[in-house]
């Protein structure tokens, strides 16, 4: 039983001025009463504004919105990376988040070592990793490359590795930012099958995407965001239509 409950969640980003990033400047401005340093002061930008959301088993939510609408921010809040400034957030269930899939590789380490590293960081035990390492290695089709440091890998190869580790996890809640689409055609086809299976195992899924096809294929409801707040929520087709409509597009300039 997995559950996500978001009540009135508001998130402010602190944006620290360049002048405030320095001990010397801070001391100087302290000594001179703030007369000397410029570019200082912390701005707060509203990342999310009064978000309310309830998700339960079987929910497949697609997040839609213009750039900067708050899709990734909402995913990061759900993943527990950002904590809400105001409001309540309750998440029950094991979360797997893939927000930036190729981040967090150790470039000097081999492919195999990176599988272990990622696995451990994502919460697997050594034994669990050992149990699935052959399957992961086989899926990546990287063969002997897995014994080489990942700095020699191409971006497509890195993607295969990250993808294979990620999809071997057991997740109850799956959070994804822009479903992966790299590599050669044959691999994409193979990846899709595995991705389907992986997503089906998850009880709740939230994806952010700019692609209508992805949202239509994978989601059973959609959420349209605008400037950090919910513009509309409902059936996928309706929301996608609304996204294209003038009503949304005209008002969505960043103010």
């Amino acid at each position: 039983m997995a559950r996500i409950s978001v009540e009135d969640v508001t998130l402010y980003f602190p944006i620290i001025g360049a002048g405030d990033r320095s001990v010397k400047n801070t001391l100087l401005s302290f000594a001179t009463g703030g007369k000397i340093t410029r570019n200082s002061g912390t701005m707060l930008v509203t990342g999310l504004d009064k978000i309310n959301l309830q998700l339960k088993d079987g929910d497949r939510l697609g997040l839609i919105g213009h750039n900067g609408a708050g899709k990734s921010t909402l995913l990061k809040v759900l993943a527990g990376i950002y904590s809400p400034t105001l409001g309540n957030l309750e998440v029950e269930g094991r979360i797997v988040s893939t927000l930036n899939i190729t981040l967090g590789f150790e470039h000097e380490a081999t492919g195999y070592e990176n599988i272990y590293l990622r696995g451990r960081l994502l919460g697997l035990t050594m034994r669990e990793i050992e149990a699935r390492i052959d399957e992961i290695a086989e899926f990546t089709e990287l063969g002997k490359y897995l014994d080489l440091p990942v700095r020699v890998y191409s971006s497509g190869m890195l993607m295969r590795l990250a993808f294979a580790v990620m999809t071997s996890l057991e997740s109850e809640i799956l959070l994804m930012d822009e479903v992966i689409g790299t590599g050669d055609a044959r691999f994409i086809h193979k990846a899709e099958a595995r991705l389907d299976e992986f997503m089906n195992r998850a009880k709740i899924m939230v994806i952010a995407s700019h692609s209508d096809e992805v949202i239509k294929d994978f989601c059973n409801q959609a959420l349209l965001l605008k400037n950090g707040s919910i513009f509309a929520q409902g059936e996928v087709d309706e929301i996608l239509d609304l996204y294209e409509s003038d009503e949304y597009q005209n008002q969505s300039e960043l103010t």
Binding site: D8, T10, Y12, F13, P14, I16, R21, S22, V23, K24, T26, G41, T42, M43, L44, V45, T46, D49, K50, A79, G80, I81, Y82, S83, L86, G87, I95, S97, L99, N100, L103, G104, E106, E108, A109, E113, Y116, L117, R120, L121, L122, M126, P149, N227, T255
Partner: protein, 334 residues
């Protein structure tokens, strides 16, 4: 009462609300405002939809103190939970530390021993010259230098790494929910393993000068533990400050260089007189006494234990409070 307003911008911003002329609506809105703290906070903070400068009446009087106390209590609880969690996941920290060491030494053929050898050459050369300069028998000077320098290397590496610790692990911190303290324990474990590995050279020096371990050696265990605990709070404190203030790293780096010269590493405490202020005011003196003396079969001074414990308790308190207060901010800074 009316249904319109001359201040539509304030309605838009959320600081005022147009409730209209209905009696029930007015009563319900006002009573919610009075009864629900979060609703009140929301309304009072909403004055500007997108941009807000701090200091603009964040809290409005009445609830300030209670809200602050509750918030602090909750944050300290979360910070302590992180602490417990990192102890539980010590296996993960050790795994990461081993991983770092394996990767770091991969590219040099002689591997980790290369660093030990270069350090040994440095210590022997310095030891021979300085024991002549200070007119001391090398049998007294060299073991002191070797142990002192190796312990110092561990302390200095940890200090230099500390301001960038969260920045370097930013890729993980921004991509997954992970206990931030894990990365501090990872660095501490890594530097301890490197030290233990370099300690082979201390053993060689001791054998050469025929210093055989006697019972004070056992004091090394609590001594090391206390020093590592001190390094923990230092790393945490500098890590948080270093993520916020980017010029802390070069400042620490030059500070460490100065510390090397004012600490009794290349010289012995008795050369300046045991009660010199140079020694008394330098915490490194106490850390070195706790670790170096047991190796050389001397008992550390009681005041070293007391002062190092005092610094540790104070430092842990300060850094844990800072961590409690800023733990969810770190990710925005890196």
């Amino acid at each position: 009462m009316r249904d319109t307003t001359e201040r539509p911008d304030a309605v838009e911003a959320g600081t005022v609300k147009l409730v209209g002329t209905s009696f029930e609506k007015t009563v319900s809105e006002v009573s919610e405002l009075l009864n629900s703290e979060s609703y009140y906070q929301h309304m009072s903070q909403a004055h500007n939809r997108l941009w807000r400068r701090p200091g603009q009446s964040k809290d409005c009087g009445l609830f300030k103190f209670n809200k602050y106390r509750r918030l602090m209590k909750n944050r300290v609880k979360l910070a302590l939970e992180d602490m417990l969690d990192v102890i539980k996941s010590s296996q993960l920290c050790l795994f990461l530390a081993w991983f770092d060491i394996r990767v770091r030494y991969r590219r040099s053929k002689l591997g980790p021993f290369w660093i030990t050898i270069s350090m040994a050459i440095f210590i022997i050369a310095l030891g021979v010259v300085y024991s002549k300069l200070f007119k001391m028998p090398s049998a007294e000077y060299l073991p002191n230098l070797a142990t002192g320098y190796l312990f110092w290397t561990m302390i200095a590496t940890t200090l230099i790494e500390s301001p960038t610790i969260f920045i370097e692990n930013g890729a993980y911190l921004k991509d997954m929910k992970i206990n931030q303290l894990v990365f501090i324990f990872r660095a501490l474990a890594r530097n301890t393993i490197i030290f233990l590995h370099n300690a082979a050279f201390i053993a060689c020096v001791c054998i050469y000068y025929q210093i055989w371990p006697k019972w004070p050696v056992l004091l090394l265990i609590p001594g090391m533990a206390l020093v590592i605990l001190n390094l923990f709070w230092i790393t945490l404190l500098f890590g948080i400050l270093g993520a916020r203030y980017r010029d802390l790293a070069p400042i620490i780096q030059s500070l460490v260089q100065v510390l090397f010269f004012v600490s009794p590493i290349t010289w012995l405490p008795k050369l300046v007189g045991a009660d010199s202020w140079v020694l008394k005011l330098n915490p490194i003196t106490y850390f070195l006494d706790l670790t170096r003396s047991p190796v050389l079969n001397q008992t550390p001074e009681p005041c070293s234990w007391i002062i190092a414990s005092g610094i540790c308790i104070l430092g842990l308190a300060v850094s844990m409070v800072l961590y409690a207060y800023k733990r969810d901010r770190i990710v925005y800074w890196i």
